[in-house]
């Protein structure tokens, strides 16, 4: 029982950055944009959050800087894919390359190529509401984890219950119809990118300001790509995205514990477990996937 509680606690920690990033990507894709800038956005946000927190001595300013970085990179994606109508794959990968390169370059300027990752004096601490009880390890989480869980219903509400959400989905499904109904397609897509970018910024901040309290240039390690898979896995619905993130986090936490306990299985099999299950479920459920109809399509106004 004790081990199970610890396992679930680990699940939440591992899921948090992926969940935040995947929620951001969900909002963006529902507006018809595939943002492959996600991986670089996570890294540059983690970096800017770390630097600002270190220079200002305020974790909250760092958090703000990370969110702002996410928003700005989202707007850049908007400029490339909405205003210039570039191919979204190319624009997104370009942003990832740019943001990753920028983070490494600035890191080198500021920290002189140190091979020991610089650490913060103090990072965000964990809440321990049920400390001392059997459930303690499960609830020993960073505030951003609780925020991420709260953002799941909020994102769902935003997308399905608000006028902005309706416009956003209309733009992602049928921009022509939305345009005729008087919706400014470009403006809605820009807003979706900014909002989704803010969530990616939170994900980056979680890595550098909470989970590790330090910055290392390779610290994102593909979490952005996993988030993209989770959006498909979750059929562009926040609650299902949460399910996917928790499943992935659970399998990851489980395989680490199996390795630690010395279970007699090749470690490669354990490491592959989360990815194998993700692929399996995608293969089983992905066939009747209803992706946003206008995804990847730049909107050209007829007659314009």
């Amino acid at each position: 029982m004790e081990l199970l509680i610890a396992l679930l606690g680990g699940t939440l920690r591992i899921s948090t950055p992926i969940l935040l990033a995947a929620l951001g990507e969900t909002i963006i894709e529902r507006a018809g944009i595939l943002n492959l800038g996600i991986e670089g956005t996570l890294l540059l946000s983690a970096f800017s959050g770390f630097v600002v927190a270190q220079l200002s001595g305020s974790l909250w300013l760092g958090l703000g800087a990370a969110v702002l970085t996410g928003v700005l990179l989202g707007l850049l994606m908007g400029f490339l894919s909405v205003t210039l109508k570039l191919n979204q794959h190319v624009a997104g990968l370009g942003i990832t390359l740019l943001a990753s390169g920028l983070a490494l370059y600035a890191f080198r300027l500021l920290y002189g190529g140190s091979s020991t990752p610089p650490a913060l004096e103090g990072s965000f601490t964990q809440f321990q509401p049920l400390h001392g009880t059997p459930l303690g390890p499960l609830f020993r989480q960073y505030g951003l984890t609780y925020l991420a869980l709260l953002l799941v219903p909020l994102t769902g509400w935003l997308l399905t219950r608000t006028a902005f959400g309706l416009r956003l989905r209309a733009v992602g499904e049928n921009p022509e119809a939305a345009d005729i109904a008087g919706v400014n397609v470009a403006a809605v897509r820009y807003r979706a990118l900014a909002l989704g970018g803010a969530l990616m910024g939170l994900a980056g901040a979680f890595l550098s300001l909470a989970q590790l309290g330090a910055f290392a240039h390779g610290m994102v390690s593909g979490r952005g790509w996993v988030a993209i898979a989770l959006v498909i896995f979750g059929h562009w619905q926040p609650s299902k995205v949460l399910g996917g993130a928790l499943l992935f986090g659970f399998l990851q936490a489980l395989q680490l514990r199996l390795q630690a306990e010395g279970v007699n299985l090749p470690y490669e099999a354990l490491l592959a477990l989360p990815y194998l299950v993700t692929i399996l479920i995608l293969a089983l459920t992905g066939r009747n996937t209803a992706y946003p109809k206008a995804l990847l399509k730049p909107y050209y106004r007829e007659g314009a």
Partner: protein, 321 residues
Amino acid sequence: MPKRCLSALILLLALGLAHAQPLKVFGAFATAIEEPWDGVIHTALLNEEAAGRIAYEFVDDIGYAGDMERILRDVAEEEAPAVVFGDAFGNEEAVRRVAGDYPDIAFVFGSGLSPSEPNLSVFDNWIHEPAYLSGLIAGSVSQSGVIGVVAGNPVPEVNRIVNAFKVGATEANADARVLVTFINSWFDPPAAKESALAQIDAGADVLFAERFGVIEAAQENGLLAFGNMSDQNSLAPETVVTGPVWDMAPTVDYVLSQVEGGTYTALDLKDFSMMAKGGASLAPFHGFSKTLPPELIERVQTRQDEIKNGLYRVPILEEAP
């Protein structure tokens, strides 16, 4: 007369300059220099540059997608350095192809394979000796008898560090259980931290951080940890006891002296990364020199002297632990 004086002076100056002309050295690294392995090589070269012995330039983050060969060829053609240092892992064939085409340049690369005549020398981080000493301490200070090791990938150079650490731990405590987790990445500190937390849940009270991220987990839980590659005490002075340290200075110094003397030849430079020649060491104990039991420090000191004097050989075990 003054004219002759002047020309003599110019001649002397020219001779002096020719003599002081630093060797042209190039660094070619597959990863960013922030990655600790390549960082160790880079640091040693920077120190030689600061000492005025070499003129140093480098390219890093070259990756494993075929750019290494192009970059090495460009450098050989346009810069014609005397020596190229770098890491060949994952680019072994490319490095060897280029080295074969430029026999007048000394190629000195980190590699798990053998040297190649006439000009390709290999080195590696042979820090299993201080890893063994770290294990000796870890086995002695662990109360639970469960020790966690979080490592990158099970390649021979990592395996021999982890295995040597295990040998030390079980020598200190025959009943010690050593948990080993691989994160399958060289650089994913959040995953390494989570692995360490899983080991703590499984009872580990001392952790060996082959990778970054583990020390943070130990610190958060008030446990002891061992660093790797460099002296990492400053990361968490109350947490990091010591750890194996790799220093490329002896290797670099030896290669430069051979090139300067015109006696360079392809070699396996392994010994220069081991304790006897100062290429490997145990990080200073810092505050722990007062808190560790004096008899333990003495035991480690004795073993260290035996290793350095060639009286004790730490086993080299390269199979996955």
